[in-house]
């Protein structure tokens, strides 16, 4: 089922959804959002794209196989949890680095927590797309 309206509209909506998903992922620590929600939104974007343009087109847009994305995400989440071990802390202890921190500003925060959240994002995105693509291709 090809619909020009859907295909055209999808281009804009999908790009917005993907940007929004990353935004939700990154802001999650202080505002509603986070890796899980971000992953769901990202997945919705690709699902929409697959409905409009077909699964093979969506796979091409995704570039990597969704099951690989899920596996990489799981690896990122695991490694980010092991990093504190290098400093002698228990696994999954939050480690923070504030770049350019001054007494007035806390600077730019970097932590293994955000890496963990990115891992969650990738797992959710990859797992859902694995399922949806496989089901769609079955038809």
């Amino acid at each position: 089922m090809k619909s020009i309206i859907l295909t055209t509209g999808t281009r804009i909506i999908v790009s917005l959804l993907l940007v929004f998903s990353v935004y939700m992922l990154l802001r999650g620590h202080n505002e509603p959002g986070g890796g899980f929600i971000g992953g769901l939104i990202g997945a919705s974007g690709f699902v929409l794209y697959a409905i409009a343009n077909g699964t093979s087109e969506a796979r091409r847009a995704l570039r990597a196989a969704p099951e690989q994305i899920a596996a990489v995400g799981l690896g990122v989440a695991a490694i980010s949890g092991l990093i504190p071990g290098l400093f002698g802390n228990a696994a999954y202890t939050g480690k923070w680095l504030f770049l350019g921190a001054t007494p007035d500003s806390k600077g730019f925060p970097i932590s293994n927590i955000i890496a963990f959240d990115i891992g969650v994002y990738l797992v959710v995105l990859g797992a859902i797309l694995t399922l949806v693509f496989a089901l769609e291709e079955e038809i």
């Binding site: 505002e31 769901l40 995400g73 989440a77 079955e138």
Partner: protein, 758 residues
């Protein structure tokens, strides 16, 4: 039949020469400990393993463990040299060598371990390697069955033994066997002594194949011949004997010990003797003589008498030497002629002179003829029987029967194939020649040792039997001397009677065999009993699997919801839960809207005939729930709920396209049943929630997270901070489940796709 035809053009590979080198290195290492042990000392090495469970890798070397270690590594050299040639060119030679070396290391660990849990671990490792070796020819159904049978029987015994060990440790407060030796009185007086004894004996009797657990051992002969020689005669099956000997100072001395060991050992020895005569396959004959020897060893371990224990020590070594030699001889014969059938083999003396000599020497030791060490062993057995008061007659009777039949078996194995008539020999299709030297070293050396120890028994006495007896009885002075000529006494007369009966049996053995053969079909077999047990177990598993796993989703869901309803209802009744006065607040307009939306979704789902509409209806219900979350300010949960709801609808719609059209409405009765379940689950959940909110809410956790979230984790969104920081490990578990579920679903879908389309 030989397992394969070796290719003589191939040279020795690493799989061939590495194992004997490892074994020889170990043997020499153990030999260095001999002077210390013979001098009355012991050695102990300990490495911490799991200190919180007081499990250590500790090793204890005394007369008992060193004797076993020397036998395992020494015979290991011979067997591995033999199999290097026997399996040369076999495509899985490397695998075989790995199994064999692993077995040797596990067996050494078993006999040297001081910690009981360490012993158990090594014990199970020998079980597993034995399983792999019996099933080495894994394309043969018989091999697989035998391997599994051995694994089940000995594995079951191992677990019983573990339970016994744990009870002992609980009473004695130590896991170290060397410390248990002085605690015999504490254990024997404990009310749990009976349970300990039964459990330990289960372990020992399954491993050492005592009746009624013997049936796995003859079946284990499905393994390649070197394995039979090594595991199932000289070493592993003696693990049970080792366990009994190790426990002798701690558990022996009671009537229960005395009679259970005597009776099981004696029954095994006599039963195996008769079965040995019945066999036509030479390997089976030897398997049953092994059972006979194991029975004899168990029987004599019953007694605390010094003669009996010296007899055990001597016979242990004697048996390992001649039995390994004879198995390897059979391997040579099989290799050369392609058969092991006692009825057909004959006249091999000319073609295989060296094998003939080795077979003859080993068989003479087995028959207990002077001046072989076998004679001394047999004399000591008789002496041990004569000196043991109450069970003496049983010991002597069983030994007499076993030794006479052993004599006959020696003739069957070593005399007929080499000296008998060659009329019925099958034509192997190539000239029968002597086996290559690596296969001959073992049989020759082991059988010559049997003669050497007989001529110079002092050597064996000082280095092996006295330290071994000292390990069991606590005093080297109690050990009896080994003499070739002890004067004319009762034991000698019994020996002469044995020879007379033995010769008679040998002469009559073909007729006996036919008679047993004829009777055999009418006797029930333990093997058959085992098959029946397994078949019944399988039927039971299928029956209960069909009962629980119907494969009908409808039935699964019905079960799940009924269980939820019953669980909630019984919990409510049990706790006498009351919801208290329910204050119904005046609904605002927005609440009413959400209610109507959810209600409409539910109504659509129930009424519609189309799957897609039902799914859309469910989606509406989900959105209503999300709105409730928003109204009560839980934005994270609401967003997640919305997104999941949306994706679920998409997934369902995709799946629904594959499903057939909904059938005309299901039966009225079924719908009423489902309705009852749905309404009761719904109302029970509602009641539960009302009950929960009528209690004051415990806010300790919420308060903690609210306070700690920003200072500790630099985040203001508590939900997310809990997910990725405070409870990050839980989240990791959850995303693992998500990833695994997706992969599993993918695999399932691909599988179906393949099957359905091609």
């Amino acid at each position: 039949m030989a397992e394969h035809d070796p290719n003589p053009s191939q040279g020795w590979t690493a799989a061939g020469y590495v194992p004997p080198v490892i074994a020889a290195g170990l043997f020499l290492t153990f030999l260095q400990a001999l002077p210390t042990i013979a001098g009355g000392g012991t050695l102990r090495y300990s490495f911490s393993w799991i200190p919180s469970l007081s499990v250590d890798l500790s090793f204890f070397v005394d007369g008992l463990s060193l004797t076993f270690a020397l036998l395992i590594s020494g015979i290991g050299v011979m067997v591995m040299l033999f199999s290097g040639s026997y399996l040369k060119g076999h495509p899985q030679h490397g695998r075989f060598s790995l199994y064999l070396v692993s077995f040797m290391l596990a067996m050494l660990g078993l006999v040297l371990s001081d910690n009981m849990l360490g012993l158990f671990v090594f014990w199970e490792l020998t079980t597993i390697t034995s399983y792999l070796l019996i099933g080495f020819s894994h394309t043969s159904e018989n091999s697989r069955r035998s391997a599994l049978q051995a694994l089940f029987v000995t594995g079951f015994g191992g677990l019983a033994m573990l339970a016994g060990f744990l009870i002992i440790a609980g009473i004695a407060g130590t896991m170290e066997l060397s410390e248990l030796r002085g605690m015999g009185d504490i254990l024997r007086d404990n009310s749990m002594y009976g349970a300990i004894l039964v459990l330990i004996l289960l372990g020992a009797f399954t491993k050492s194949a005592q009746v009624p657990f013997h049936f796995w051992l003859p079946n284990a002969m499905a393994a390649p011949t070197p394995v039979s020689a090594y595991l199932h005669s000289a070493t592993m099956v003696k693990g049970g004997v080792y366990l009994l000997a190790r426990m002798h100072p701690t558990l022996s001395g009671t009537d229960a010990w005395l009679w259970s060991l005597t009776i099981f050992g004696a029954v095994t020895a006599v039963f195996a003797s008769i079965m040995a005569i019945k066999q036509t396959d030479l390997k089976q004959t030897l398997a049953y003589t092994t059972l006979m020897a194991l029975g004899t060893l168990v029987m004599f371990l019953a007694s605390p008498n010094a003669y009996a224990i010296t007899a055990v020590a001597t016979f242990l070594v004697v048996h390992s030497l001649y039995k390994a030699a004879l198995f390897l001889v059979i391997g040579c014969v099989d290799h050369a002629t392609g058969t092991r059938d006692a009825r057909r083999l004959g006249g091999l003396m000319r073609q295989m002179p060296v094998t003939t000599v080795a077979a003859g020497l080993a068989a003479l030791s087995m028959a207990g003829v002077p001046p072989f060490i076998g004679f001394i062993g047999k004399e000591l057995l008789y002496k041990g029987g004569l000196e043991s008061p109450s069970v003496g007659p049983i010991l002597i009777g069983a030994t007499l029967a076993a030794s006479a039949l052993m004599f006959a078996a020696g003739g069957i194995v070593a005399l007929r194939p080499f000296w008998g008539s060659a009329d019925k020999m099958p034509d192997p299709g190539r000239p029968i020649t002597e086996a290559p030297w690596p296969m001959l070293v073992g049989p020759v050396l082991l059988s010559v040792l049997g003669l050497l120890f007989g001529l110079v028994p002092h050597m064996l006495e000082v280095n092996v039997t006295t330290p071994l007896v000292a390990a069991l009885l606590g005093d080297p002075a109690k050990a009896k001397h080994l003499h070739l000529w002890a004067g004319v006494n009762a034991a000698l007369i019994l020996s002469l009677i044995t020879f007379a009966i033995g010769i008679l049996l040998y002469l009559l053995h073909t007729r006996l065999r036919d008679a047993l053969e004829a009777a055999g079909d009418r006797l029930f077999t333990f093997d058959g009993l085992w098959d029946g047990f397994l078949a019944r177990l399988g039927r039971f598993a299928r029956w209960q699997g069909g009962l629980i796993q119907s494969g009908i989703l409808n039935r699964y869901l019905t079960t799940v919801f009924i269980v939820i309803a019953l669980g909630l209802a019984s919990a409510m009744i049990h706790t006498r839960m009351s919801t208290g006065p329910i204050a119904i607040p005046t609904p605002e307009f927005k609440h009413l809207v959400v209610f109507l939306l959810t209600f409409a979704g539910t109504a659509l789902t129930i009424i519609t005939n189309s799957r897609i509409s039902a799914i859309a209806g469910l989606g509406v219900v989900g959105i209503g729930v999300a709105l409730i979350f928003i109204l009560f300010s839980a934005p994270d949960v609401a967003i997640t709920q919305l997104l999941v709801e949306m994706l679920v609808v998409v997934l369902f719609s995709v799946a629904a396209l594959r499903l057939p059209v909904l059938p005309r409405r299901t039966g009225k009765r079924e719908r009423i049943g489902h309705g009852i379940i749905a309404v009761s689950v719904g109302s029970l959940v509602t009641l539960t929630l009302l009950g929960v909110v009528s209690e004051p809410i415990d806010r300790r956790l919420s308060d903690f997270f609210e306070i700690a979230s920003y200072p500790d984790a630099y985040g203001r969104n508590i939900v997310n901070v809990i997910l990725v920081d405070f409870r990050a490990f839980d989240t990791f578990g959850e995303v693992s489940v998500v990833a695994v579920a997706a992969l599993a679903a993918l695999a399932l879908l691909r599988q179906r796709g393949k099957g359905g389309r091609s």
